[in-house]
Amino acid sequence: MADENEVSEDDLKNMSAEEIAELQKQNCIFCKIANKDIPAKILHEDDDIICILDINPASEGHIIVFPKKHYMIMPHLPEDILGKLFNTVKLMSNTLLRTLQSAGTTIFVANGMAAGQKAPHVLIHVFPRKQDDGLLELPRHDITDEQAVKISSTLKPYIHRAFGSKMNNKIPEISVDLSENKQEKVIEQKPLEKKSENTDDKNSSEKIHDMEKKSEKPMTRTQQMEHKPAKSIDLDGVAKLFGG
């Protein structure tokens, strides 16, 4: 272990993604907590999941719920672990409401450093809230009707695909009109709109097809949801956020 800790930046550059991931795993503090190599205030655990008290709490009673196995971001989790994780979060939130007479909890996950993720292990934060404690507020960003229509028309066909349903209607024509009237930004939107009008087009939507595991057959909704997230290159790339 001592040797592995002495990895220079040059070494890192020459390592494969797998090697880096392995290195991270060995140095992951949350894996060590799960293995009981590092002590923690464990509240609850089973074979897959462990709940501990955060030693740097946002508020008293701040709990971290995480899988024992090393996964970097939430989209990497297998469906069964993911479901179990959220059900455990519910149990912890319920417990906080009762034991601390709290009237609310914040559940928080950061996927990626840009989202504030600090450790390369999926963590779900659950902490009790009091009225006006100012711990975590979502900013409000006003968007115009025009923007809303654009966002909506951009995302809609992809969301439908991701859930395994084809849209009955094509993109409303209004969005096409809008994009013609709109300035610079529209250029980037055009390929998508074209694509969404042609649901048989496979080339222009490979990524989304990847997410559907290249399934040609329509799936039932349940089958779709039982699908594990495709271990596509794209997704693994996203998890590289910590260099692994």
């Binding site: 479901g83 989202a115 809230r129 968007i143 859930f163 990524k207």
Partner: protein, 190 residues
Amino acid sequence: MMACPICDKEYAKNILYENDKISVYMAINPAIPGHLQIFPKQHYAILEEVPNELLSYMSSATNKLSMLLFELLKVHGTNIIIQNGVPAGQTIPHFSINIIPRRTDDNMKLEWDMKQATPESLESIHRLISEGITEVPASNVVAKAIDIFPKTEERRDEMPVDSSEKPADIKSDASDKKINYYLKSLERIP
């Protein structure tokens, strides 16, 4: 039961997708363009009421949408946030999961100030909480949490008109297979 704007479809304009279990919305009060919100079809006010199976389904849906935002909007990350109860910032009395796209340069502060807990306080809170962990539904605390929702809700229009800020930076070049641009920015070793 108070009127629920989600069950009443007051924000139908924001719906991007729905099936028999969930509805995916463009967030009603977006933190940033691209902010999504998943609501269960059936009415549940807070997390504690949502059945396990449905919650699992919603968590899968959350992952799907995270991946979608990574791919489509080329964002650098996502925050998954549940505002569970009024003190947590929940304004609509219908449970939801927020999926917020993040970029390294978005200047959004979604963090809390970390406090330093003393071993004594950790010890006592640990005892208090671990003794209370039980699967028993907490109907009275649920009732209490629901009770404090404002009766007449102060609601904003779902799509406020005019904004002095720059238009949404929604990029969606589907034909661009290179996602290296945003992956690069993720590849940072702390």
